[in-house]
């Protein structure tokens, strides 16, 4: 079944509002008619099975284009709005993009893209109703989400119509969503967690508030103004709210539940949230773009007794922690999280080799290391992939290391992530300065990073060392290094 037909299958009241922004409100009937119009336009001018790039922040433009591309049987290629030029150029050269949907306010950032369709074009579409949408099969690709890999280059995760349908169904089931639910969405829709908010609420006939504030604290007002029942965040979302706003003192009377995924939120914050909002459900969850979005959740009544656990597989997903021989680990032992289910991606775009390295016999090897307790609840202990998660972004240390090493006067550089009260993890660059003056070098590194890297990749601190700890195979031992740097920073604070 076409994923968009599945989403709109249940609409009981077409005049009900489905998308709210600070300026506009869109009903299901409006949304449906905009999507049908654009889908018809795409079928007439492109046919189907073609690739369409979409670059947009959360907006009505994003929602209409995204759904129309999928409905027309074409493939939506999603990238982050802050994608660096070189990475976008590579994606464009390696794909067969026929048309690019770019939000008008972002057009000046992407002047090199050809055949651009913006908000203005959307308002000028012809009104001919003859819609000839092709039949799609479940295994057809609907979306390619480009996400950061551990080497720093983007990998495209291909998700099928079926992947999207089954994961949406599972999430609705365990969150117990219905048409009364209204989510306050701050996470970007081009990111799998953000997209899942859009999918689930459309499917149940609920509504989505696009909360787009200069400062995250604005969500408190948005939740109250729009009477939201749900809120979703990554670790940095909750850390910013707790540390920089009066969030924990708020009542938020309409809010029924909150969800958290996208990395590990420190236990102390989970406890603070549960203490501040004892009547609300707090869902700790775990997932991967490669699994459409969601893989596990911890039932909210266990959030304090199983503190720090990511729970168990969601309905329809078998989630196991396997040792090196492929056997489930015993309680207390560490292994890799492996998932089976119809939500596992079709593969990486144009990269069968990497696909085969993470999917064997229909099982996704996540690269996340975990243990289980006596009741089978899973606890993440580390990542075997070399990735830093900061402010909801996945960052490859390699990219920043290479950049800093390319600067004059640097002998070596290792980039690590350390727990941070606001960012989730903070980027720390550990630099071997050679003979250069450390103070001068520090200013220079930071200035060059600010000039050349996106904000979220700029190291929070630069720390100088005269040598790096090595492991048995003479590689830099990042774990030991991270521990000693964390110790050093702690001592400096005291």
């Amino acid at each position: 079944m076409n994923f968009v037909d599945y989403l709109f299958d249940n609409v009981k009241d077409p005049l009900k509002s489905c998308i709210h922004t600070n300026k506009d409100t869109l009903t299901y009937r409006d949304l449906n008619s905009h999507v049908a119009k654009l889908a018809t336009y795409l079928n007439t001018n492109l046919g189907f099975g073609k690739e369409c790039l979409l670059i947009s922040e959360n907006s009505i433009f994003f929602v209409i284009c995204y759904l129309a591309i999928i409905k027309s049987g074409n493939v939506a290629l999603l990238v982050e709005t802050r994608i660096p030029d070189d990475q976008l150029t590579r994606i464009i050269s390696e794909s067969k993009i026929q048309i690019s949907f770019v939000q008008k306010k972002l057009c000046t950032n992407f002047i090199n893209i050809s055949n651009v369709f913006t908000d203005d074009n959307l308002n000028q579409l012809p009104d001919d109703g003859a819609c000839n949408i092709p039949n799609i099969v479940d295994n057809d690709t609907a979306v390619v989400i480009f996400t950061s890999g551990s080497t720093g280059t983007k990998k495209g995760v291909m998700l099928t119509h079926k992947n999207l349908c089954v994961n949406t169904e599972s999430i609705i089931q365990y969150l117990d969503l219905n048409s009364e639910d209204r989510i306050c969405a701050t996470l970007p829709f081009f990111y799998c967690y953000g997209a899942s908010l859009l999918h689930t609420h459309l499917r149940v006939g609920g509504s989505i508030v696009i909360s787009d504030n200069i400062f995250l604290g604005g969500v408190i007002r948005d939740i109250n103004t729009h009477s939201c029942t749900g809120f979703a965040g990554v670790p940095s979302t909750y850390q910013i709210l707790i540390n920089k706003t009066p969030f924990l003192k708020e009542k938020l009377p309409t809010l029924r539940y909150m969800t958290q995924a996208g990395g590990q939120l420190q236990n102390k914050y989970i406890q603070q949230i549960c203490e501040a909002f004892p009547e609300k459900k707090f869902f700790v969850m775990y997932g991967a773009t490669e699994a459409t979005a969601r893989l596990s959740y911890l039932p909210p009544h266990l959030v304090l007794t199983k503190l720090g656990s990511i729970g168990m597989g969601i309905p329809g997903v078998i989630l196991e922690v396997l040792d090196e021989n492929g056997k489930p680990v015993k309680p207390g032992e560490t292994g890799e999280i492996v998932a089976r289910g119809d939500n596992i991606m079709k593969g990486y775009y144009g990269d069968p080799e990497t696909t085969n390295s993470v999917i064997h016999e229909n099982r996704l090897f996540t690269g996340d290391l975990a243990t289980v307790d006596n009741d089978g609840y899973i606890y993440i202990v580390g990542r075997s992939k070399n990735i830093i998660k900061t402010c909801g972004h996945r960052i490859s240390p390699n990219e920043i290391e290479e950049f800093i090493c390319s600067l004059e006067g640097i002998m070596g550089c290792v980039v690590i992530g350390l727990p941070d009260d606001v960012m989730g993890e903070a980027i720390i660059a550990v630099v071997h300065p050679g003979g250069t003056d450390e103070l001068l070098l520090k200013d220079k590194i930071l200035a060059e990073c600010r000039r050349n890297l996106p904000t979220y990749k700029i190291p929070k601190s630069i720390i100088f060392v005269q040598e790096f700890p090595l492991n048995a195979s003479n590689k830099i031992d990042k774990l030991t290094l991270a521990a000693s740097i964390a110790e050093k920073l702690k001592n400096e604070e005291e």
Partner: protein
């Protein structure tokens, strides 16, 4: 440093947003400046708080939508 110092504020904006000092004018606004996103806003607030030794209240952080507003809000904390 606890005194209102416009040059210091301007320097922080120019550094964080990657603009030259003369591009930082009162009309520079979150809505129209492509470099000024919510993550940069958080960074601006953190740097202003750190260099002036103040803590800016949430409603003020939300109200700091253009450079002119930032200046008048900071005067409240630094006068």
């Amino acid at each position: 440093m606890n005194n209102y110092d416009e040059d210091a504020i301007k320097k922080i904006f120019s550094e964080v947003l990657g603009l030259s000092m003369h591009e930082v004018t009162d009309s520079l606004a979150y809505n129209s400046c492509v470099q000024w996103d919510s993550l940069k806003h958080l960074q601006l607030v953190a740097m202003l708080e750190e260099s002036f030794g103040i803590e800016i209240e949430m409603d003020d952080i939300i109200a700091m939508e253009n450079y002119g507003m930032v200046k008048s809000i900071l005067q409240k904390y630094l006068m």
